[in-house]
């Protein structure tokens, strides 16, 4: 039975394993730790019996000085055997909120393969992302990517917590 929570250091190996199983874009463990050390609130995992079956690795965009307040999804994946539970949507929703609340993100951006119909549909139809443009030969194997973006600032109003406790 699955639980979804913020990613911790002990999840990094599992996230890496999930990523290696599912996706052609892979990273060394240290890169996962780097995300957790820089933006700890932006990564989430779906686990069952301490096994990572889905994850989202989020960051704030530090490549482009023009758009420092954009959240960015480095990687998102769910094991095929755990599909149809809406895990990807749930993981994205958690990450999105954190980007807005913790880092003041105006937008979230990500890349998706033009041939990845399932992922594209998740982003476009379920999560309401728009295509910003097409980046030619973005992926290592030469495939094009849709660069997608979503405005998120207004989604999360400032929370007033009661301090009466």
């Amino acid at each position: 039975m699955i639980t979804i929570r913020q990613a911790e250091a002990r999840d990094a190996v599992g996230m890496q394993a999930c990523n290696l199983t599912n996706l052609p874009e892979n990273y060394q463990l240290k890169y996962y730790l780097y995300h957790l050390a820089t933006w700890p609130e932006l990564s989430f995992v779906a686990t069952t019996n301490n096994r990572v079956v889905g994850y989202v690795l989020g960051k704030m965009n530090d490549d482009d000085p023009e758009t420092p307040l954009d959240g960015h999804i480095t990687s998102l994946s769910v094991l095929r055997s755990y599909r149809r539970l809406g895990l990807a949507e749930r993981l994205m929703t958690q990450a999105q909120r954190a980007m807005a609340e913790v880092f003041g993100a105006q937008r979230v951006s990500l890349h998706v393969r033009v041939s990845n119909v399932a992922a594209f549909s998740l982003y476009k139809n379920t999560l309401k992302f728009d295509i910003k443009d097409t980046e030619k030969k973005y992926y290592g194997d030469g495939e094009d990517a849709y660069a997608m973006k979503k405005e998120i600032r207004e989604m999360y109003l400032s929370e007033m917590d009661s301090l009466d406790f």
């Binding site: 039975m1 699955i2 639980t3 979804i4 929570r5 913020q6 911790e8 250091a9 002990r10 990094a12 190996v13 890496q16 394993a17 290696l20 199983t21 599912n22 996706l23 052609p24 874009e25 892979n26 990273y27 060394q28 463990l29 240290k30 730790l33 957790l36 050390a37 820089t38 700890p40 609130e41 779906a46 069952t48 019996n49 094991l79 095929r80 055997s81 755990y82 599909r83 149809r84 539970l85 809406g86 749930r90 958690q94 909120r97 954190a98 609340e101 913790v102 880092f103 003041g104 041939s115 290592g140 194997d141 030469g142 929370e159 917590d161 301090l163 406790f165």
Partner: protein, 806 residues
């Protein structure tokens, strides 16, 4: 000459200083500069050291170390010389040596900030926290306004167990005139970290007060809310805590900690049977509030029994079957430990299937269900019967599922798994091949296919297939596989080579996996400075605490144990004059391995030196260096490491026993036996371990008779009279353990006599496919004749009729 830098003429001093700036990464320039100085002062110790450092970073390590040692001989008190030596040791991951160098450097220059900072990180790496505290206290005193110093000090106090001192340090410095100043995010992180320290220090009330104080400056709102809920619960303020957990559930209704916390607030222990009705009621209320939560949908099945369970299961099942959720069985599988629940689930889904087959709808539905529901019923039931070992029935069901929807890929995956469980590994592989060809872009399917190929020892085909998904830009694709740290793949290849008898290559792959974990542990080093600079301190402590457990990972333990067993096998074969010889294999130079279409011998200009760069994976293709090592010493290293990191795993001590016995370290052998007994006094390997130790003591004339006395006495006291065949009448694990030991003692016939009985029914549920396969392997090793082995195979096939592996 023993002249220090400050005694060099002015020009050379300036050059020297600039050489140190180059230390940042411009090694070639730095080398040039130091050589310029050496032209005039060829024996200047410190310059020799610095030159050595640059050489070490330019892949001329041996030369580099030589020069640095020369420099130190000339000027043994030079702080600079010790510092650079320490730097190089550190980058070579020789942390213990690096620390020694830094400590020498400090003797000559005790207030050097760089040295203090670097050695503090090393102390943390080596978990010498009180020494890290000392260094960082000095640094903080030198500059109380540099955040990295006092934050580093606080974390060192934390890891040293002094939360109170950590809090003190933060309080003293957080409002100071810090340069660089802390930004909004950093202040938020620091505040929550401080709050955590107050909690760890045990004062929940103070933590709660502090939590209120800091709220205006918090950006990690979820984190703040989590603390609020947890602290309120710890302070036994259940009502307020319940509200806080509800608040959290609004953000994430899939979080198990939130749900469990909420339950605790209601005074309910989910694991307590008495609370069952109350627990289910609360789950029901939460489900109404959060109808989309998957976890809340599954939870009732965990905590209900009997009729409650039946109702909850039916509700979940219908939801999942209609939606076509492939993981339904995986999710409820944990419940099958309760036999009644497993049976009830089977009955339920059978009933669903019957209803759909007969009437196209469930009994209580007003509309027809989609045709796919029957597919998912069969899909579930196939897994259900597979779980109970009825592979034939499982196959029939999954094939029905496939026939009803040949384009759905998931059923093929289950079919492959059933065939694997049934012992038809080739059939599993072929089925998985078909599945992945229906969606070649899906790496998940290909990954499974690769694993199944390796299970039938198709190592080359597996590699070719793996390469399909390796990054096209990688300069060397096979090296890239290793660089991307795919330990599952390394271990499976290792197992395949081991089955094929290629111990050299098996070791090569196990060591690849072991190196990955060494890298994982090294990875934390940079975070000692990075995380402190970023002020993500909660995350930093989390990284440190996880890193201390890196080697507990099952993939590491598998690789280390398997490698140690390989070394033992090599040692045994050497001892019986059947030395293993590394296996040569004719291989074409694959164009796939190098980027583009490089031919053998083509220059790789990226190497920069005009030579073909040899990647690590290409070196020693058949594992000769592992084979020709001191086998027992290597086995010992691995066994000792496992004893230190995986002492709670019985297999660790079974391995340690084998190693220490061969090395005639009988006290350590007894230690392993006792360690195993402490974990599990009924462990099947214990009787034969005791017998073998006794036998060794009887026959080993080189071991002092006086020392044998206490050993024998201890054995007698702990175990009494033991027979190697203890337990072998009913337990297949005991048979396997005893047989292994009999073989080790040279009693092949005795082993064979035991092993041939293993397919018999009296071994009941222990009679699994994998255990019978192990029995078959040991039987072959025992030297039993062809007809005996064939008879064994035939009997095994009556237990596993679909198996092709006997």
């Amino acid at each position: 000459m023993s002249m220090t830098v400050t005694e060099l003429p002015h020009k050379e001093q300036a050059l020297f200083r600039s050489a140190l700036l180059y230390e940042a990464s411009q090694y070639k320039k730095g080398l040039k500069v130091s050589e310029q100085i050496l032209k005039k002062f060829p024996d200047h110790g410190e310059t020799l050291s610095v030159k050595g450092m640059f050489l070490a970073h330019l892949e001329r390590k041996e030369e580099g170390y030589e020069l640095m040692e020369r420099g130190l001989k000339i000027n043994p008190q030079s702080s600079i010389s010790w510092h650079v030596y320490g730097l190089v040791c550190r980058s070579d991951k020789k942390y213990v040596q690096a620390i020694k160098c830094y400590e020498e450097a400090l003797k000559a220059d005790s207030e050097n900030m760089h040295i203090l900072r670097e050695v503090a990180s090393l102390y943390v790496q080596m978990r010498q926290y009180s020494k890290a505290v000392e260094c960082r206290e000095k640094l903080t005193a030198m500059n109380p306004f540099f955040p990295s110093f006092w934050l580093g000090l606080a974390t060192a106090h934390h890891m040293n167990g002094r939360y109170d001192l950590a809090i003190k340090v933060i309080s003293a410095h957080e409002l100071g005139n810090n340069q660089p100043p802390l930004d909004k995010y950093m202040i938020s992180e620091l505040s929550l970290y401080k709050n955590w320290l107050i909690e760890l220090n045990g004062d929940y009330q103070q933590a709660l007060e502090h939590l209120k104080e800091i709220r205006p400056q918090i950006v990690d709102i979820t984190g703040w809310k989590e603390k609020k809920a947890r602290l309120l619960l710890k302070a036994d303020r259940k009502e307020a805590a319940a509200t806080a957990f509800q608040d959290l559930l609004e953000r994430n209704s899939e979080n198990d900690d939130y749900i469990t916390g909420y339950m605790e607030c209601n005074g309910l222990d989910m694991k307590c049977d008495e609370d069952q009705d109350a627990v289910l009621e609360v789950i029901g209320t939460l489900q109404q509030q959060f109808p989309s939560s998957n976890r809340l949908r599954f939870l009732p099945l965990m905590y209900s029994t009997g009729d409650n369970f039946a109702v909850a299961a039916e509700s979940l099942a219908k939801y999942a079957l209609r939606k076509g959720i492939p993981s339904l069985f995986s999710s409820v599988r944990v419940l099958y430990a309760d036999k009644a629940k497993g049976a009830a689930l089977g009955t339920l889904i059978e009933s669903c299937a019957t209803q759909i087959r007969d009437t196209k709808r469930f009994n209580d539905s007003t509309d027809d269900e989609p045709a796919s529901v029957l597919l998912w019923c069969n899909y579930y039931l196939a897994q259900h019967y597979d779980y109970y070992g009825d592979h034939e029935r499982a196959l029939t069901l999954i094939e029905e599922a496939i026939r009803s929807s040949p384009k759905t890929i998931e059923p093929y995956m289950i079919k492959a798994r059933i065939l694997k469980h049934a012992g038809d590994f080739r059939g599993a592989r072929d089925t998985m091949d078909y599945a992945r060809q229906q969606d070649v872009g899906d790496r998940y399917l290909t990954t499974k296919f690769i694993k199944y190929m390796l299970r039938v020892d198709e190592v080359d085909e597996a590699e070719k297939t793996y390469l399909l998904f390796v990054n096209e830009d990688a300069p060397h694709k096979i090296q890239e596989i290793v660089n991307m740290q795919a330990t599952w793949y390394m271990n499976e290849r290792g197992h395949a080579y081991r089955r094929m008898g290629d111990i050299g290559r098996a070791l090569k792959h196990y060591h690849q996996a072991i190196s990955v974990f060494d890298t994982y542990q090294d990875d934390q080093y940079d975070f000692h400075q990075y995380s402190v600079r970023k002020v993500t301190l909660r995350s930093y402590i989390d990284i440190l605490e996880w890193e201390a457990t890196v080697y507990e990972n099952p993939a590491y333990q598998t690789a280390a144990r398997a490698a140690a067993e390989c070394y033992l096998e090599l040692a045994d074969r050497k001892a019986s004059c059947n030395t293993f010889v590394p296996i040569e294999i004719e291989k074409d130079d694959k164009p796939l391995t190098r980027n583009g279409s490089a031919q053998q011998g083509q220059q790789n200009l990226a190497a920069g030196v005009g030579e073909t760069k040899v990647y690590d994976v290409e070196k020693d293709p058949n594992g000769t260096k592992f084979v020709e090592s001191d086998n027992l010493a290597e086995a010992l290293k691995l066994a000792e490491h496992l004893e230190s990191v995986a002492a709670s795993n019985p297999d660790t001590h079974v391995l340690a026993f084998e190693v220490h016995l061969r090395m005639q370290k009988y006290f350590l052998v007894l230690k392993a036996i006792n360690a195993l007994k402490a974990i599990d006094a009924t462990h099947p390997a214990l009787p034969s371990m005791v017998v073998r130790l006794s036998q060794a003591l009887d026959t080993d004339e080189s071991f002092a008779a006086a020392l044998k006395v206490p050993l024998r006495a201890q054995l007698a006291k702990s175990f009494g009279a033991v027979d190697i065949t203890t337990g072998t009448a009913e337990s297949i694990d005991s048979v396997l353990a005893a047989a292994k030991s009999m073989l080790a003692m040279g009693n092949g016939d005795q082993a064979a006599a035991l092993l041939v009985q293993t397919p018999e029914a009296k071994y009941a549920e222990g009679r699994t496919l994998l255990k019978l396969l192990e029995a078959k392997r040991l039987l072959a090793k025992s030297g039993a004749d062809e007809s005996t082995q064939a008879a064994f195979g035939a009997t095994a096939k009556t237990v596993f009729p679909l198996a092709t592996c006997f």
